[in-house]
């Protein structure tokens, strides 16, 4: 098909073997035995402050080292990127959600730390919390009311960020005359959806290991998604010179956005900073679930106005996002979520999107695979389904009529580059829709006459879009050096969080250099030696860092060939042949292989400057990947229990650079999204508001038996701006399962399920209501 040698070929993970064999690659495998063990002291109520804290007995526990409280931390910070509001300290006297961390205990052993933590006597002053995010705006409970004066609000957020009203952000975009266009539409549909808080549930919980290295650098060795940003945040939070801090990324046991919150790293670094001792903090499963962050909860409404044939004319959306107790990157999730999802339907005359983000006393929302687009895509799909139903159209037709096509442009796509129009440069979404339908057997199944028994089946479809990075903000940076042994080393600041991006980076460099990946090393990421990288988020590793890797490799190739000519005494324009990693003259005369070159170049005679290059790739376009998925469900009408029998997804991620990786990324994303659709949701007690499901027994994630048959196909496009035509794949797959499954349930039962998760209880209730003559749920 192609004459590529390394990209597009199934290439096993470079770490794959070592991971499978359990080699000590993760942080927990590398901790020194003299490290003090750190335990966090959590607020046990959704909203409470410490009135008094007595550590007298705790300090008597043998092995107790030190207690750390808010008195040890003065600077206001945010545990995240520096563009987000600073609204907390590393430790806080006030707990604004259950799980919030007020103090830390360090001890010589795990047991001692645990005992000391339990023996702390804390008197809490309990405040009434605000839990319902639809009631939070302007509520008399102000989540940050007690310390508004000390917060730092970045100038660009002023006006939108109003913590005195519990308002984290307000986004209002208006394109065209929405009221006017809506008034002219043949048909107007209105829908309302709800999406819950979902927990990342990486199997490796959050953790950090810190120590002073031999030269006195405070070193953080941890699974992180963003080494450079974390370095900046921790240094700022501790009030130390960033250059005295070093971050080394270890193998990450799952990220999904949740290892972009920097709190554990700040806590652990604080202990080392104040005790000068190595320290280790490993969250238990319960702590990880109740402390770190969640997918943002949303309540969204959409009015869509169309022509009689289902052509969208106007899209008017409003809604609320629950930021939880701290804003972190909620503003970004809100804005980016809008951009990445509404870009799916740009062919309208008018569009208006008004969404609030609000504070509550729930677990804070943070980045989670899909980043606001998953929720908004669900909304858009639900609206399309209602509309198709009302107009008597096939939902797939509605999609095909309205989706973004190559050449389309709309200001909602522009993101941060307000006035610089973005275009769809590549898309196979229409083919993806058709293919996913073929794979599921749409034609015969969608309109099949329903059986009369209790078991019914249905098929449904969903579509989604995302982005590849953040346009005009992010850059990928890669350095490549040639080593003295004739191998190469790639230095990159990106974080492979289990997606396989390390391997793909090497495939790209190998392809350009025409050198086997086995002869290329990779360093990523260590703030002491890898170039700046904004972090692994926004599905950007392959597009952005891969883009930089390609550019750097091209430079290296040029430099290498030039140097080979030079050291062979050949003129600058002498054509060379490079075959199986050996240089020849055009006449077939063998010149040298890479080892011979390195020897000649690097040793005492005749050499030159070391071969080192660097390149930067600006994420100018952040092109959209697309997906269409079909689902087939089987429902038991008597119990409401349903199973997803089969899903077929067709994906446009640009060119597929590593087929095995790509398939796993897609399957993993779909699986996580099946969890969100069917059962994953944080539950809080009705009266005490305590988080009810905070372990893997009570918070269920999809297991092997939950899996439907999955057909994944890639319908490649060639993205002109991407490395070898690649776009991205990290998040796109999460967008379509919820729409597809809820549509399949609609097809099976004739009932719209517009609120997630769609539990059997909800299904049963809706069936009973329908049969009892009530309206659809």
């Amino acid at each position: 098909m192609s004459d590529f040698k390394y990209i597009t070929k199934q290439t096993p993970r470079i770490e794959g073997k070592a991971l499978g064999l359990g080699h000590p690659l993760y942080m927990a495998d590398q901790v020194r035995s003299d490290a003090v063990v750190v335990k966090a002291v959590h607020c046990p109520y959704p909203f409470a402050e410490v009135e008094s804290l007595d550590s007298g007995i705790a300090e008597k526990v043998p092995g107790f080292v030190r207690l750390f409280t808010w008195e040890d931390t003065g600077i206001i910070t945010n545990f995240g990127w520096n563009y987000t509001p600073f609204e907390r300290h590393v430790l806080n006297r006030v707990g604004r959600y259950e799980g919030d961390v007020v103090a830390l205990v360090a001890a010589e052993t795990e047991e001692a730390a645990e005992r000391a933590r339990r023996l702390l006597k804390i008197k809490w002053k309990i405040h009434r919390p605000v839990m319902d995010f639809t009631q939070a705006l302007g509520s008399d409970v102000v989540v940050h009311g007690d310390h508004l004066d000390e917060m730092y609000i970045q100038p660009q957020l002023a006006g939108h960020y109003l913590p005195q009203k519990n308002q984290v952000h307000y986004s209002c975009r208006e394109y065209g005359d929405i009221e006017g266009v809506l008034a002219q539409c043949d048909h107007v549909t209105h829908v309302k959806v709800y999406t819950p808080q979902q927990i990342h549930t990486q199997l490796e919980t959050h953790r950090c290991y810190t120590y002073y290295d031999d030269r006195g650098f405070l070193t953080i060795s941890a699974p992180t998604q963003a080494a450079d940003a974390m370095q900046e945040d921790v240094a700022r939070s501790l009030g130390i010179d960033r250059r005295k801090l070093r971050v080394i990324k270890t193998q990450v046991g799952g990220g999904f956005g949740g290892k972009n919150i920097f709190s554990p790293y700040c806590w652990c670094a604080l202990v080392t900073y104040l005790t000068k001792r190595p320290a280790v903090l490993i969250f238990s499963r319960e702590e990880a679930m109740a402390t770190i962050g969640t997918r943002h909860e949303y309540m969204l409404e959409l009015t869509v106005g169309t022509d009689r044939d289902g052509t969208f004319r106007a899209i008017d959306s409003s809604g609320i996002q629950n930021a939880g107790a701290y804003s972190e990157i909620s503003e970004d999730v809100l804005e980016t979520g809008i951009k990445n999802s509404y870009s799916l339907f740009p062919r309208v005359d008018a569009m208006r999107i008004r969404q609030y983000s609000v504070f509550t006393n729930k677990l804070e929302g943070c980045a989670f695979r899909g980043f606001g687009a998953t929720q908004n895509c669900f909304l858009l799909n639900v609206a399309a389904r209602h509309l198709a139903d009302e107009l008597g159209l096939d939902l797939s037709e509605v999609f095909l009529k309205n989706i973004a096509r190559v050449g389309d442009s709309h200001p909602v796509m522009n993101g941060w580059m307000e006035d610089d129009p973005a275009y769809v440069e590549s898309s196979t979404l229409a083919e993806c829709i058709q293919r996913s339908m073929e794979l599921i057997g749409w034609e015969e199944k969608r309109n099949a006459t329903p059986p009369s028994g209790t078991i019914v089946r249905g098929v449904g479809i969903g579509v989604a879009s995302h982005a590849s990075g953040v346009p005009r903000v992010d850059r990928g940076n890669v350095n490549i050096a040639m080593n003295a042994d004739g191998s190469f080393c790639v230095f990159s600041g990106h974080a492979d969080i289990g997606t396989g991006s390390n391997t793909v980076m090497l495939q790209i460099v190998a392809e350009v250099l025409e050198v086997s990946p086995d002869h290329i090393h990779l360093f990523a990421a260590d703030t002491a030696c890898t170039p700046f990288d904004p972090g692994t988020y926004a599905s950007s590793n392959v597009y952005r860092c891969g883009g930089a890797a390609k550019l750097a490799a091209e430079k290296m190739k040029k430099l290498l060939w030039k140097s080979v000519r030079e050291t062979s005494g050949l003129p600058e324009n002498e054509p060379l042949v490079f075959r199986d990693e050996v240089f020849y003259r055009e006449n077939g005369e063998r010149l040298m292989d890479l080892i011979e070159f390195a020897d000649k170049w690097g040793f005492y005679w005749g050499g030159g400057d070391p071969l080192v290059v660097g390149a930067s790739f600006p994420d100018t376009f952040a092109p959209s990947p697309y997906v269409a998925s079909c689902a087939e469900v089987e429902v038991d009408r008597e119990t409401g229990v349903y199973r997803v029998l089969r899903m077929s997804s067709a994906i446009d991620c640009g060119r597929v650079l590593n087929p095995g990786n790509a398939r796993i990324q897609a399957m993993g994303g779909i699986t996580q999204s099946i969890g969100m659709t069917m059962f994953e949701e944080i539950k809080y007690g009705k009266t005490d508001y305590r988080m009810l499901n905070r372990d893997l027994q009570s918070y269920k994630i999809p297991c092997q038996m939950d899996m439907p048959l999955l057909d994944i196909e890639f319908i490649e496009s060639c993205e002109p701006s991407g490395p070898f035509g690649a776009k991205s794949l990290g998040e796109i797959a999460t967008g379509s399962p919820a729409p597809a499954i809820s549509d399949a349930l609609f097809n099976a039962l004739g009932i719209h399920f517009d609120s997630l998760p769609i539990t059997p209880e909800k299904v049963l209730k809706a069936i009973q209501e329908k049969e009892g003559g009530h309206a659809d749920s």
Binding site: P12, G16, G20, L21, H23, Q202, G253, R663, Q704, L710
Partner: protein, 149 residues
């Protein structure tokens, strides 16, 4: 208190506390392959062979392992190699955290089930959670492994 075990074929004597769990003890005795994700038996990443049977080691008190024969991935040698090869060939790893537990389970499966069907393999692997891969590739990897001599 002292217990004696055979770990990956070698006799060992360990000093353990009464409330120590086997997963922690194994990690402290040179088995980084044993991963702890939940600590309450819900995820299977700490799966080891205890007297030949796959067990979640985070729920077994170390004292109860006195006299037992324990096998972790570190002790599976060529078989582990084969299973991991099947998995990586198919691109079957995400973050890798769950992989060693899966390898132990796949090894046990081959010894326990004869000519299993796709669905039997699926059911056997059910206890071990993975948040990255979507599971299906694991079944495929096991089916390939079963074909190997």
């Amino acid at each position: 208190m002292k217990i004696q075990v055979t770990l990956n074929g070698k006799k060992q004597e360990w000093d353990v506390t009464p409330n120590e769990y086997l997963a922690d003890t194994l990690r402290a005795h040179g088995c980084p392959s044993v991963k702890i994700s939940c600590g309450d038996g819900a995820c299977g990443t700490c799966t080891v062979l205890l007297n030949g049977k796959p067990m979640v080691s985070c729920e077994v008190l170390s004292v109860r392992a006195d006299g037992a024969e324990i096998v972790t991935v570190e002790g599976l040698e060529e078989e582990a190699d084969k299973i991991v090869d099947c998995l990586t060939r198919l691109g079957g790893e995400g973050c890798g955290w769950c992989a060693p537990g899966f390898v132990v389970l796949a090894y046990a499966l081959k010894r326990e089930l004869h000519n299993p069907t796709y669905d039997e393999v699926k059911a056997y692997l059910n206890g071990n959670l993975c948040r990255c891969t979507g599971y299906i590739v694991r079944i495929e990897a096991v089916l390939e492994y079963l074909q190997m001599p």
